[in-house]
């Protein structure tokens, strides 16, 4: 039994425009994440990868299909059971600043999951754990009294990570956690995430559109296109011999670090901008 099992997840959103066609964000997605591994979900904007990241945490309800965490079907839980279960599954968002309440101090932001899930703890114990986790993510204890707006983007994202891991989850969705950060900061955050994974045995669902990042951090990669997973493979295999033509296109779109290497981009038929009418059969 895998840690996370998603079966035939389907989600259709009503169109934003009146009378527009509904958007099929997820069209029968199935995947498994094993304890301690990183599964990357890669795909272009609008491929449904962020929807998938939220659906596995039941932040939005699926139209069809199931999500099981440790064998427990999340849809079968009562609201309070689900809230309790949330200690085990967390999320880090793409936008570090927007994901922090601007009126709360860093300390109380990081303390909140503890207040929710470990009600037995006294204020002093919570304080100690908060300082510990802040140091673990590379922030000095003194930031606890600051407001989110007083920190840099990289520091804000460290706070987001601290908040996600403080309740000792087994599984964390990383929704493009580095795509709004500078390159140098990006590397630091990725290193931090890898370190936390090694220390705490976390499993990650790493949602990204960036092949370079994904290559570095993931054990396996699932390629999403128009709401479907078109290919899943161990990272090494996927880069060595991509099977699906869309994957080949994604890989060919990468730029090499070596300027002498010839860049051969191969276009792919079908574009996510025509989502309303996806190809009946993904070209294979």
């Amino acid at each position: 039994m895998s840690l996370l099992e998603v079966e035939n997840a389907c989600k259709t959103f009503a169109s934003r425009q009146r009378g527009g066609d509904p958007v099929q964000a997820l069209r029968g997605v199935s995947l498994q994440v094993e304890a301690g591994e990183t599964l990357a979900i890669i795909g272009e904007s609008g491929s449904g990868k962020s929807t998938l990241g939220r659906a596995v945490l039941r932040l939005l309800e699926l139209d069809e299909g199931s999500v099981r965490m440790d064998g427990v079907d999340l849809a079968g839980l009562s609201p309070s059971e689900l809230r309790a279960k949330r200690a085990e599954m967390q999320i880090v968002f793409q936008e570090p600043y927007e994901s922090l309440n601007p009126r709360m101090s860093i300390g109380s932001i990081v303390a909140e999951p503890l207040q929710i899930h470990r009600k037995g703890l006294g204020a002093a114990q919570i304080r100690k754990l908060v300082i510990e986790v802040l140091e673990r993510v590379g922030l000095p204890a003194k930031v606890a009294t600051r407001l989110p707006g007083e920190l840099s983007g990289g520091q804000q994202q460290r706070v987001g990570v601290a908040r996600a891991v403080v309740s000792e989850p087994k599984f964390v969705v990383l929704d493009e956690p580095t795509s709004s950060l500078d390159l140098s900061i990006r590397a630091q955050i990725l290193e931090l995430l890898a370190q936390l994974q090694a220390d705490l045995g976390l499993a990650y669902l790493f949602v990204s559109h960036d092949m370079h990042t994904v290559e570095k951090v993931s054990d396996r990669i699932a390629v999403m296109y128009l709401g479907e997973i078109v290919e899943t493979a161990p990272t090494v295999d996927l880069f060595r011999s991509p099977q699906h033509p869309y994957t080949q296109t994604l890989l060919s779109a990468r730029l090499s670090a070596d300027p002498r290497e010839k860049h051969a981009y191969r276009a792919y038929e079908g574009d996510a901008s025509v989502r309303a009418t996806p190809p009946q059969q993904a070209p294979a």
């Binding site: 945490l57 932040l59 689900l82 809230r83 309790a84 279960k85 949330r86 200690a87 967390q90 999320i91 968002f93 936008e95 927007e98 994901s99 922090l100 309440n101 601007p102 009126r103 709360m104 909140e112 999951p113 929710i116 899930h117 003194k142 009294t145 600051r146 407001l147 707006g149 007083e150 987001g160 908040r163 309740s167």
Partner: protein
């Protein structure tokens, strides 16, 4: 009040500004609001505790319609009452009714607005209902309510509350709908926060600023409504002085050159409204929305 909504923005350990420095900085940044607050505070304190030169309910047949002078600073009205004493005394009833009406509107309107801030059909219907209610000429409604109740003062409070509850509801609904979509609320949901926690830790603290701004504006508006009512002879009745009834009493004398009888209570209304508007502006500046 001016400093309460603003969180300490430049919170530096060991460099915390003293209270006095904070007050001085606030005054320097918002001189209008500081002046307004000072005016209101002095007016309220004087009306509550201050010595008045004459009995505000008294009359003096020998000194009617005298112009402003050293003995009667704002002159006297038709029955010889001292306009200055009456203007100050009227603050007691006018401001307390305006504050009470606003408080009731706040206490009822905010929870209702929170409850209505969903995207469901019911909540949208409710907003349509509010539209219909607000389309009604509200001053007339207030007038009818108060006169039907036989000029009961509590009805004035009810009328002011009724006028303003829909405004609070709409404001809360639109603000909260926006914040509900924000990432930090999604993050709180993802960590398993209960509904009360979402409301009290995440939603309300981020709408406090606009609630305070609205409250300040509502007080200003209530003073005008109240004065209009008593100008029309509804609500506060003689011998209790109120600005509206004083303006009405003096209106007839304007044409005969006795301008002071209506002008000074009018100025009192104007300055109070200005003061609360300035305060609202300052609060708005200091709590500029930052959750987006």
């Amino acid at each position: 009040m001016a400093e309460s909504p603003a969180p300490a923005r430049r919170r530096e350990p060991g460099l915390t500004a003293s209270r006095w420095t904070t007050v001085r900085r606030l005054v320097a940044e918002h001189p209008g609001a500081a002046l307004g607050v000072t005016f209101i505070v002095v007016l309220v304190l004087w009306s509550l505790f201050g010595p008045l030169p004459y009995d505000p309910r008294g009359t003096d047949g020998s000194a009617s319609r005298e112009g402003p002078s050293g003995t009667h600073w704002f002159g006297t009205d038709g029955t010889g009452g001292d306009v200055f004493s009456r203007v100050i005394e009227a603050a007691k009833i006018d401001l307390s009714l305006a504050l009470a009406g606003t408080a009731v509107a706040l206490v009822i309107g905010v929870p209702l607005g929170l409850a209505a801030s969903t995207k469901g059909k019911g909540s949208q219907r409710l907003v349509r209902g509010l539209d219909a209610f607000q389309a009604f000429p509200l001053l007339i409604l207030a007038l009818a309510l108060v006169s039907l109740s036989g000029n009961q003062l509590y009805m004035v409070v009810v009328a002011i509350a009724l006028l303003n509850i829909p405004r609070y509801m709409r404001l809360l609904r639109s603000e909260v709908l926006a914040i509900r979509e924000s990432r930090f609320v999604e993050a709180a949901t993802a960590m398993g926060a209960s509904t009360p926690r979402l409301i009290f830790r995440h939603l309300l603290p981020n709408v406090w600023g606009v609630i305070l701004v609205q409250t300040s504006l509502t007080i200003a508006n209530s003073i005008v409504v109240l004065s209009s009512l008593s100008f029309l002879g509804v609500g506060v009745s003689a011998p209790t002085p109120s600005w509206g009834s004083m303006i009405r009493d003096g209106a007839g004398n304007m044409s005969s050159g006795e301008w002071w009888i209506a002008t000074f209570p009018g100025l009192a209304v104007l300055l109070c409204v200005l003061a609360f508007n300035q305060l609202a502006d300052a609060i708005g500046d200091r709590t500029a929305r930052s959750y987006r």
